[in-house]
Each structure stands twice: as C-alpha cells, then as structure tokens.
C-alpha cells in the first residue's frame, strides 16, 4: 500500500527531475515549439513543492495529487499546464479519500488520468505529444514500475521520427520529424520519478 508520504516523495522526485532537466526540456521545445516547456514546468513544480509543504500532514494521497494538479493549472499556463494539471487532478479524484492506496488502485487511477488528458487535448498516441510516453508508460504499470519507466522512456524516444499532429509542433508539418517531443520527455521524467520512488520504498 502507498501512503501520503509515498506521493509526496514522488512529487518531490518529479520536481527535482524537472529542475535538473528544465534547460533540456526548453531546448527540445526550441526547434519544434516555443522554447518554454522547461521554464513552464519548473515554475509549476516549484509551486507544487510550496503547496505540498503547506498542506496539512494528514492530507490523503488523492487530495495531495489534486492539490498538485490545481497548482499546476494555476501556475504553468501553456498547453502543458492544463494537461498535467488534469492528469494529476483526475488521478487524485480517482484515488478518493483513502489514506493508503494499492498499486492496482494507483494504476487504475493513472489510467483515468491519462484518459482525461487525451480527452482534454484531443490527442492520441502517435500524435507526438506527452501521450506517447504517458499511455505506454501507464499501461506497463500492469507489469511493474520498472516496466512503466522503460516504456515511458521508450515512448519519448519514439516520438523522434513522428510527424506531429497536435500541439505547436504540428505547425511545422514535415519539419517536425526528427525531433523528440518535449512533453513526452517530461512525461517520462514523471513516470521515472514514480518508478524510482516505488523502487526505493518497496
């Protein structure tokens, strides 16, 4: 079972990964975007850290994720703000108010979260978006956390040859080919943080 501490650790690991990789994410967002993805997420996860620090220690996993999601929505902006915000909010809602949740419940909840992202953004895997890492990554949670991390990372890498159909990169048409999607890359960071946290504590 995963308690609130686990979710705090995951979000902290995600924030640390974003901080470490922010410049790279912005760099990836330059040739096929508007060079702000790293700055956007850094601003958002910095605010998430503050929000979590201020949250009551008894806050349940679901509420923590919803708080993080709301914080992303109100600080990130851009496309990734509402999308990641929705991912965490919806996942949190699915988790309900239980003080501890099972890995299976988390897997189901994340599937609902990813579904909400797909619905909100209207994208599907293969469109060269964060879904290309999120969808296979969360699906592989059925196997293991490690498998989820590997699938997400593979999904991010696999965006390179794709012609973008959603987001800013789609404006470039053929010229979007050959570049890794920044959002898929950050999604892989989030699932890697989850897997690392799970492995470190299980």
């Amino acid at each position: 079972m995963r308690d609130a501490e686990f979710f705090r650790d995951w979000l902290e690991a995600a924030a640390a990964a974003v901080e470490r990789e922010a410049d790279r994410l912005t760099e990836l967002d330059s040739p096929i975007g508007d060079a702000d993805h790293g700055t956007n997420l850094l601003r958002g996860f910095t605010a998430v850290r503050t929000a979590l620090a201020g949250a009551d220690p008894s806050t349940a996993p679901g509420a923590l994720l919803q708080l993080a999601g709301r914080t992303l929505i109100s600080t990130v902006g851009g496309a990734s703000g509402p999308l990641y915000g929705t991912l965490l909010r919806r996942t949190g809602k699915e988790l309900g108010e239980d003080p501890e949740v099972s890995d299976t419940a988390l897997h189901r909840a994340l599937e609902a979260g990813v579904g909400a992202v797909a619905q909100l953004g209207g994208a599907a895997p293969g469109d060269k978006t964060m879904l290309d890492a999120l969808t296979p990554g969360v699906a592989a949670l059925g196997t293991s956390y490690r498998a989820a991390r590997d699938a997400a990372e593979a999904g991010a890498l696999a965006t390179v040859p794709i012609l973008a159909r959603k987001g800013r990169a789609s404006y470039l048409g053929e010229r979007s080919i050959g570049h890794q999607d920044p959002g898929a890359t950050s999604s892989a960071l989030l699932l890697t943080a989850l897997a690392d946290t799970a492995e470190g504590t299980s």
């Binding site: 912005t26 330059s30 040739p31 096929i32 975007g33 508007d34 060079a35 702000d36 700055t39 956007n40 601003r43 929505i73 109100s74 600080t75 990130v76 902006g77 851009g78 496309a79 990734s80 703000g81 509402p82 999308l83 909100l120 953004g121 159909r165 959603k166 987001g167 800013r168 789609s170 404006y171 470039l172 048409g173 010229r175």
Partner: protein, 333 residues
C-alpha cells in the same frame, strides 16, 4: 536584453504599463490589465489574453472601444485560468463576457477551464477562437490554424460593437464573422530570443528567411534564400487571398489590411513592404478600404512581417472606424 531578469519581465512590464497609463487599472499581482470603467458601462465585457512577447497585443488594446481586460501570460506561454476568472469578474456588468482566444492549445485549454469556472460562478461567457494563419492547414492532422494578426481586427470590431451596447450574442457573432473573413501569412528574417532561453529560438543564417511562421518564435513551413520585399509580398498576399477564397465571399470586396511588423523590422521597411502589398491588391482588383502599418502583433525581437486581410462589409467598416482609445490604437476621441 533590456531586462532585470528573465523571471521578472512580465511583472516589470506591468509595473511600467501602470506607470505609463494611469487611465488603465493594471493589477500586477493578479496579472490583469483592466479598463477603469469596465464595470460601469453596462456593456458586454471583452477579455483576451495570451503569452507575453506580442506587445502591444493584448494589453495595449485595452480601453474605450476595444478590450475590457487583457491577461498576459509568461513570455510565449498562455495565461492561467485564475487570470481570466479575475478579469471576467472585473469586467462583467451583468451583460456577459466574451473571451477572445487565439487558437493555440494552451490558450484554448486555459480559457476553456476559465470559462467553465466563470459559468459555475454564474457569469454568461462566450468564447470566440481566432484562427487566421493560412500557413497552417486546418485539419485533423494539426492543432488547427493559428491565431495571429486577425486578433487585432476581432478585438477592435467586437470592442466597437460592445461599446455601442450590442448584446453578448451579437458581439460574439461579429467577432466570429471577422475571424472567418480574415486570413494571415507571416515571414521571419530572423529568429527571436526569449528572456528565459537567452539565445535565438532557431538558427536562421544570414541570407535566408522562413516562410509561414507563427508569432512564438517557432520556425515556419519552409526556409528559402533571401527574397526581395516584392517577392515576399507576392507569396504572402497570394497565400492570404487563396485562403480567403476558400471562405467564399466576393473576391473583389473591400478589405481591411494589416501590414504588421514582428518587432525588429524598421517601420521604414514595413512601409516599403506595404507599398508592394497595395500594388498586388490593386492588380488583383481588391480595394483596400483601410490599411494599418506597424508593429501590433509581434514576436519579441523577431525581424519580419505578416499580412492580414479581412473582407469587410459596410457594418464591419463602420465598426472599424468607430472611436477607439487604447495605448496602441487610438482614433476618433
């Protein structure tokens, strides 16, 4: 860059707007620029916004006869729903609020969330999407045409209608008509540099240009060897007229023309470019009813320009000519 730090550019600019424009209510904390008299007019409230770096869009268009409020996001990053909510609450006088949204995933999603929340708060909210850029094909395979220069036409004409007291559905319908009657095409002669990245967003060697660019420093659809102003105007006006043709409507009806600088192209060159645009339109038998030449929908320090044409009937022309009093667009009072 003439900045204190990448983190503070937007707040610093809002402080400067507050100092320069006492006639506006600039809420630096909440990142909203409002008309001081937004709530007292009994008018439909017009709220727009988007990433910063396109100035004077949108904050420079707040005032009599145009926007009621603008929400500036971080540079090239759409604002967050809280800003639009605050703006909507600040301008609603019971007549409802129109959100004018440029068609970018981030702007669309954030304004959508704000609209849902505002409606939960009991406000009537309509949204109109601006998507005029013909460089992007509007299909299932893209995020759709981008919103660029037509935003100015939409904000001006919807603003004039709101000022006259038109109801929300009429203001929204006019805004949609303007958008559907407008098409744009942009060209970059250099990339721009965002404060956060600190280096050009893409590499454009001297002697080359990008055709079909957006306003966020993204590269265009195609790179070419440098062209003359005349050649560039041929491509841009041709693409815009082709795009307009698809919308139906009379091919020889009068147009509003915006020859817009991306930020670093001297006005001297923009006027020279406008001469070519006017020449081509004359040759094609398209009368230019009104022309606007200058830096209005910019992309930081990018060199280049865009052309926007809007097929304008009598009513749109009348609303275009109506008085406007904002920092960046002002006539008739």
């Amino acid at each position: 860059m003439l900045i204190n730090s990448a983190d503070t550019v937007v707040a610093d600019a809002l402080h400067g707007m507050a100092a320069a424009h006492p006639e506006l209510d600039v809420d630096v904390e909440r990142r909203v620029v409002l008309r001081r008299d937004a709530k007292t007019g009994g008018r439909v409230g017009l709220v727009s916004g988007g990433g910063s770096g396109h100035e004077p869009l949108h904050g420079g268009f707040v005032g009599y006869g145009m926007l009621s409020a603008a929400c500036p996001g971080e540079v090239f990053t759409s604002p967050v729903p809280n800003q639009m909510l605050h703006a909507a609450a600040g301008v609603d006088s019971g007549q409802g609020v129109l959100f004018i949204v440029k068609n970018y995933t981030g702007d669309v999603l954030n304004f959508q969330m704000a609209a849902e929340l505002a409606e939960e708060d009991g406000l009537s909210v309509e949204r109109v999407l601006v998507n005029d850029d013909v460089a992007v094909t509007d299909s299932l395979y893209t995020a759709g045409r981008r919103g660029t220069g037509a935003t100015l036409f939409v904000e001006k004409i919807a603003g004039a209608a709101a000022e006259e007291g038109a109801p929300l559905d009429r203001v929204a319908a006019l805004a949609r008509q303007v958008n559907e009657s407008s098409r744009s095409f942009g060209v970059a002669l250099s990339a721009c540099t965002t404060p956060a990245k600190g280096s050009p967003t893409f590499q454009l060697p001297e002697g080359e240009l990008e055709l079909g660019i957006g306003i966020h420093g993204e590269p265009g659809r195609e790179r070419r060897a440098m062209m003359t102003a005349r050649e560039i105007a041929d491509v841009a006006v041709g693409a815009v007229l082709d795009g307009l043709a698809e919308t139906g409507g009379p091919a020889d009806g009068p147009v509003l023309a915006l020859v817009n600088g991306m930020g670093a192209t001297p006005l001297l060159e923009l006027y020279g470019f406008h001469a070519e645009v006017a020449r081509i339109l004359a040759a094609r038998g398209v009368p230019v009813a009104r022309a606007l030449v200058g830096n209005y929908v910019t992309s930081l320090d990018m060199a280049g320009c865009s052309v926007t044409l809007c097929r304008a009937d009598e009513e749109l022309l009348r609303l275009w000519d109506a008085p406007v009093q904002t920092p960046a667009l002002r006539w008739g009072r």
